[in-house]
């Protein structure tokens, strides 16, 4: 019969109260744990995927929007740029190792159609975090597009839309999520259906959410009527008119792989200060800025809420133990009569706080894993980002330790009450 066993016996004897107290600690820990995991995992994933290209060149506007729309298939594209700019970039072999023009415009049931050159399908890059070679466009079945209106479908897009080799589909203008079976809007491109010729292997990246076709498919889908997608969606003048060009002479952006990642800042400055009238953005910088300047505050607020819940949980531990001490003052007096020292009684109560905190932390961590897993499923569906719900970071361990210390500290007052009791009086009150 150790003090640990005695403490456990008393906790077990009041299961409901113990469970409720553990639950309150667990809720706080789950909140803190899931915030830390989601923040770290999404940042890690966003940063890793941002390394697919060193720089993105597109129309002037928000650099973050440019990166999100081209590298992550999120948000609206910024606008279009003349294809001549792309050719000029490609020719600059002092910086540029490879450049990939893309055209964004239409969608099929919420998944973007991305007009690209065939060479993008062979693109690979080295994941600096995992030191592994990433190939996001490897075929799982079928072949790559060869003619206009042939499409290669990303793994997630294929799974969600049910598209298979040989299927045909009609794209929708703009970024509109169409439920299955819903009527297509008026300006749908019914005259130019796409045929699925290939399905890509899952790459656990945002590229899994794309449907890829030749650049000219996007131009032809619009029949030269309104050019490639861009600022026009917001009712602005189509870019090709602004530039005095035909739609065939425009692209949404150019994804650039440099000779060396160390050239990123130099190249970004070179483009942004050039008279080309376009903008360059470094994806990894934009993502880090997003996390540091915007999402950093969100994290702090959520963590503050989490720690507030921890304090409330600590109070519930304190109140629970205090009431328990009042209820079992007879048992404590009997233990003193049996020879237990006041320190041992103090220890028994403190160990109860230890158990409650520990159980709260363990169940809270599991709860956090469940929450993170559920939200991770959404992130995978929505953004193609795979989140590891079982991540246990140093931040989490530190947070758990803080919760543990607060929980045990909450046991001090009740433990002191137990320590300082008048044994003879408690026995006489029986």
């Amino acid at each position: 019969m150790t003090l640990w066993r005695i403490s456990w016996g008393y906790l077990w004897n009041r299961k409901l109260t113990t469970c409720l107290t553990v639950l309150s600690v667990a809720l706080a820990v789950a909140l803190i744990s899931s915030v830390l995991t989601l923040r770290a995992e999404t940042e890690d994933r966003f940063v890793r995927e941002s390394q697919a290209f060193d720089v993105v060149v597109g129309a002037k506007g928000s650099p973050l929007q440019l990166v999100l729309s081209t590298v992550y298939m999120m948000d609206q594209p910024v606008g279009n740029i003349p294809i001549a700019q792309y050719k000029e970039l490609l020719a600059d072999d002092a910086y540029v190792q490879a450049a990939f023009p893309i055209n964004l415009g239409d969608t099929y049931r919420g998944f973007r159609l991305v007009g690209v050159e065939r060479k993008l399908m062979d693109h690979s890059w080295t994941d600096m975090e995992g030191a592994e070679e990433r190939k996001p466009f490897v075929l799982d079945e079928g072949r790559y597009f060869d003619k206009p209106f042939e499409a290669v479908v990303g793994a997630m897009a294929a799974r969600q839309t049910g598209l298979k080799i040989g299927d045909t589909f009609i794209s929708t203008h703009g970024l509109i999520e169409m439920p299955e079976g819903a009527a297509a809007p008026e300006h749908d491109h019914a005259k130019n259906p796409y045929t699925v010729v290939g399905i890509l292997k899952p790459s656990n990246s945002p590229f899994d959410r794309g449907i890829y076709c030749r650049l000219d498919s996007v131009w032809q889908a619009h029949g030269g009527g309104h050019g490639t997608h861009g600022a026009e969606e917001a009712g602005d003048t189509p870019d090709f008119e602004e530039w005095g060009l035909h739609p065939e002479e425009m692209v949404t952006a150019v994804l650039v792989q440099l000779q060396s990642p160390t050239q990123r800042y130099e190249f970004e400055g070179y483009i942004n200060n050039s008279p080309m009238g376009v903008m360059a953005a470094i994806p990894i910088n934009q993502i880090r800025n997003l996390y540091d300047k915007v999402l950093g505050w969100v994290k702090l607020v959520l963590l503050a809420v989490g720690y507030l819940v921890v304090v409330i949980s600590a109070l519930s531990i304190l109140i629970g133990l205090y009431l328990s001490i009042l209820q079992r003052r007879r048992d404590l007096a009997v233990m003193r009569a049996l020879g237990a020292s006041a320190y041992e009684i103090f220890g028994v109560v403190l160990i109860e706080a230890f158990w409650v905190s520990l159980l709260g932390i363990l169940s809270g961590w599991l709860g956090g894993v469940a929450v993170t897993y559920a939200l991770g499923q959404f992130l995978t569906y929505r953004f193609g980002l795979v989140v590891n719900a079982f991540r246990l970071s140093q931040d989490q361990i530190a947070a758990f330790f803080i919760v543990w210390i607060i929980g045990i500290f909450a046991g001090f007052l009740p433990a002191w009450q137990a320590y300082d009791r008048d044994v003879a009086r408690d026995l006489a009150d029986l």
């Binding site: 009997v334 049996l338 020879g339 020292s341 006041a342 029986l430």
Partner: protein
């Protein structure tokens, strides 16, 4: 075994416990008899060190407990004095066996490896070999008091203090518990101090000490 000399303790405004002299030989079985509120339990608390006297000496097994610090006194109590209470005071979260083990937990008189064996033997001796793993709340009052007697003897204590041990029992159980307590104290050569307000119970012990005059109230 137990000696009180000029012991006094203030119990409240104008109320004082006073015992000029009290002596019990080793192995003796003595009843402390008197009406409710006469100071019998105060005397047991002083002897067991749960209360300290304001003046005088309390000597148990040759040790003046006034000389012991708080921790030493706790340890001394666990090793030398066994308690039997009126309301049994078994700890509800633990089985009969664990309650007896608890009696040994807070003393180093019995080596750890012998705890379980000794606790089992004691429970078998009090007729509860078949209820080792029963929870107190599933046991009859008579059974609970027998567990308490086993617990009081677990550390091979030299002194048992029993405070109204039959107070919560019916006559049949009362008789059986008294028989068991007297038998086991005799077997183990343990000194027994038994507090009771029932004359018939007190007269079952070889010695009887009248406690009627222990508490004095000062005149207003």
């Amino acid at each position: 075994m137990v000696r009180l000399e000029n012991c006094s303790r203030r119990l409240g405004p104008g109320v004082t416990f006073a015992c000029p002299e009290f002596h019990v030989a080793p192995g003796a079985q003595t009843a402390l008899w008197g009406p409710s509120g006469c100071g019998k339990s105060t005397m047991l608390n002083l002897i067991s060190g749960l209360l300290r006297p304001d003046s005088g000496r309390v000597v148990v097994d040759g040790v003046d407990i006034q000389d012991l610090k708080e921790g030493q006194l706790d340890h001394f109590r666990g090793a030398h004095i066994g308690f039997v209470f009126q309301t049994f005071n078994l700890l509800a979260p633990f089985t009969a066996l664990q309650n007896v083990l608890l009696g040994m937990r807070f003393s180093d008189t019995v080596p750890g490896r012998e705890w379980k064996n000794r606790a089992t033997l004691l429970l078998e001796r009090v007729g509860l070999g078949h209820r080792l793993h029963s929870m107190p709340q599933t046991m009859s009052v008579g059974e609970q008091q027998r567990v308490a007697i086993a617990r009081a003897l677990a550390n091979r204590q030299k002194l048992i203090v029993a405070d109204e041990p039959t107070g919560s029992l019916d006559p049949k159980n009362s008789e059986a518990v008294m028989d068991l307590l007297l038998e086991m104290c005799a077997e183990e050569k343990v000194t027994l101090l038994l507090v009771t307000h029932e004359r018939s119970i007190a007269e079952r012990l070889p010695a009887l000490w009248d406690c009627s005059d222990l508490v004095k109230e000062a005149a207003a």
